[in-house]
């Protein structure tokens, strides 16, 4: 059996075993371990364990538990309820105002946290029940929360970009900055879509009654103070990092501390709350880290088989693709795999194959890997919300009010997937959308 067919057997075996519903990390680790023993005998027995020290040396990984912790604290802290009240009053009169306010809320939450968990928890538990009560169309608003919370990984800070940065050896601050404009474009598209739908069919999003919004201007301005805490958290974390005062992992610690302080200010900080948050953080962190550990072992075996060269040969020599066709092929394969694979596993297994290839391609502009990181992150967003396998879908099912069925969730996402794909196409056509901001900041 030659190396390529071994690689195919490994990949196929992994997909087949994943369908049994065994824990993903166990399946990937099993395939890697048996392949190591079959290929190298007992001499290779240390390979799966040594992945733990590869992971150890990736110190940016420290941001992962800190961001997860911060996300849970933020959603418990009551900051989101205040923000929502503010957005409600300020956007109330617009067509689809509450849904638009929810999207703005999602962007603000995304700017405070690097995962989509926080946005999801806040959207599903605070915004959704409120909008349902006011007779908003459930399919529309389910999509709003799903699409909006996925911005968490594109708008800085972003954990997905930290992972990509480690694998592609690119500076995380540049990747984060590169996500800003595409993230805002995507958010603007979502808002435009909601307001057009609401204008075309007001039954989807009934406007709030006048007496509820009747409020003196002074009161309205006073509500703006609820925006101060989120702004301070964003500045303390992303601001201090981009200006170079704190390192990446330190700024995650600063952010987590700020969120804890904010919860204390709001009187929500109790020992029970800290205990429960620490437990939930451990669960999600262990899930991610064990998955990455197993995927690293898998990746090491794949590497040893020369899978990078095999794919390069396939794309460039056998199929004679142009550089742009190769990039499109990669995006499509990411989206297809993202439907079935967990995105972390996908990143650790597939990115090491694609990143060297992207470096080789001549696309006619600089910083190709930063740009590719943004494209990759957006395909992850699609992967998060597309069935059958998506984090946001699972979270939504767990968190959303009872009257929202699985079918509603599935039906709600397609317009948002289309808008995400459109943003990907825009960033491919105009790479400067992603690259202008990081290049300007670096050039200063």
């Amino acid at each position: 059996m030659n190396d390529t067919s071994i690689a195919l057997v490994m990949f196929g075996g992994m997909l087949a075993l994943l369908l049994t519903g065994q824990r993903v990390f166990a399946v990937i680790g099993f395939v890697a371990s048996t392949a190591v023993l079959a290929l190298y005998g007992t001499g290779g027995v240390e390979i799966p364990f040594s992945a733990a020290f590869k992971l150890f040396n990736w110190f940016p990984m420290l941001t992962l538990p800190l961001f997860i912790y911060m996300g849970y604290v933020l959603s418990e802290s009551g900051i989101a309820e205040d923000l929502y009240r503010m957005l409600h009053v300020w956007f109330g009169r617009m067509a689809g105002g509450l849904a638009i306010g929810t999207l703005v809320l999602m962007v603000i939450v995304s700017a405070m946290n690097g995962l989509s968990v926080a946005g999801m928890a806040i959207g599903a538990t605070i915004a959704l029940p409120e909008m349902l009560r006011r007779g908003y169309d459930k399919v529309l608003i389910t999509g709003v929360v799903q699409g909006g919370s996925s911005l968490g990984i594109l708008v800085p800070p972003s954990v997905v970009m930290v992972l990509f940065g480690m694998i592609a050896r690119q500076p995380v601050s540049q990747l984060w900055l590169a996500g800003v404009i595409p993230g805002l474009i995507m958010a603007a598209m979502f808002i435009l879509y909601v307001s057009l739908r609401a204008r075309a069919n007001p039954a989807l999003a009934p406007t709030v009654s006048d007496e509820e919004l009747a409020m003196p201007l002074g009161e309205k301005l006073k509500l703006l103070r609820f925006g101060i805490i989120p702004f301070l958290i964003f500045f303390a974390m992303t601001g201090l990092f981009v200006t170079g005062f704190t390192s990446l992992v330190e700024s995650a610690a600063v952010g987590a501390t700020c969120a804890t302080l904010a919860a204390a200010v709001k009187g929500r900080l109790t020992l029970t709350m800290l205990h429960q948050t620490a437990r939930k953080t451990l669960g999600i962190s262990c899930m991610f880290l064990w998955l990455i550990l197993a995927a690293l072992a898998f990746g090491a075996v794949f590497d040893g088989l020369g899978a990078v060269r095999a794919i390069e040969r396939l794309f460039i020599t056998d199929w004679e693709l142009t550089p742009w066709q190769v990039v499109i092929m990669m995006q499509v394969s990411f989206i297809v795999m993202g439907m079935f694979l967990d995105d972390t596993a996908m990143l650790v297994i597939v990115a090491p194959l694609y990143v060297p290839l992207v470096k080789l391609l001549d696309l006619g502009f600089d910083n190709q890997l930063i740009w590719f990181g943004v494209l990759y992150t957006m395909t992850c967003q699609i992967a998060y919300i597309t069935p059958p396998f998506g984090y946001n879908l699972f979270l939504m099912r767990a968190l959303a009010p009872k009257e929202i069925s699985l079918l509603d969730i599935y039906r709600s996402i397609w317009p948002f997937v289309a808008m995400m794909a459109l943003t990907i196409a825009l960033v491919m056509l105009f790479p400067q959308l992603a690259l202008w901001l990081p290049e300007t900041v670096r050039g200063r």
């Binding site: 040594s50 733990a52 992971l55 110190f59 538990p65 330190e250 451990l282 999600i284 962190s285 899930m287």
Partner: protein, 170 residues
């Protein structure tokens, strides 16, 4: 189900819980040490070079020590496209079959970790850095955690068999 097995499941599950509680509070250790680093460098201008490295060791301890508890409480993601539609008995049957995956992976990790730890102890391995800490302690801890995860994996198997035989889970 024999009393000995019931006792085993109870003991292992409880041990995983204790170790896991210690693990989950390590998040505050990481938070504190990183904050200390940021403050000493920027505010009092006295950089502590060991902080990040200490946090890295803590992260390794964090997810290894949390491994058994998260196995017990089923926190790990599964691809539940088909799995989700099965009855509890169907799930237990499939889990029993695929427990091989988990146990083989953990077994290979255990062999690798033991051989790596023996090497670290024999050669007095140290991490190459300004702080230069010895590697044996974290490796010994990792071996212990993997052993606990294997024990927890066996406990899961026993519980699956109990479900299949329609017995009360201990």
């Amino acid at each position: 189900m024999p009393a000995a097995l019931q006792l085993y499941v109870r003991l292992v599950d409880r041990l995983s819980g204790y170790v896991g509680v210690v693990a989950m509070y390590l998040i505050f250790v990481m938070l504190g040490v990183l904050l200390l680093d940021a403050v000493t460098r920027n505010v009092v201008d006295y950089p502590l070079h060991w902080c990040i490295e200490f946090a890295q060791f803590t992260l390794a301890a964090y997810y290894f020590m949390g491994g058994a508890l998260t196995l017990r409480d089923n926190d790990h993601v599964r691809m539940d496209l088909f799995y989700d539609r099965l009855s509890p008995r169907g799930k237990a049957r499939l889990d029993l079959l695929t427990a091989v995956c988990l146990l083989v992976y953990l077994g290979v990790l255990l062999f690798g970790s033991v051989s790596s730890t023996l090497y670290a102890i024999e050669t007095n391995e140290r991490r190459f850095s300004m702080w230069n800490p010895p590697m044996a302690p974290i490796k010994v801890l990792m071996v212990c955690c993997i052993v606990l995860m294997v024990l927890q994996g066996i406990s899961l198997v026993i519980k699956n068999i109990a479900v299949l035989r329609q017995e009360r889970t201990p």
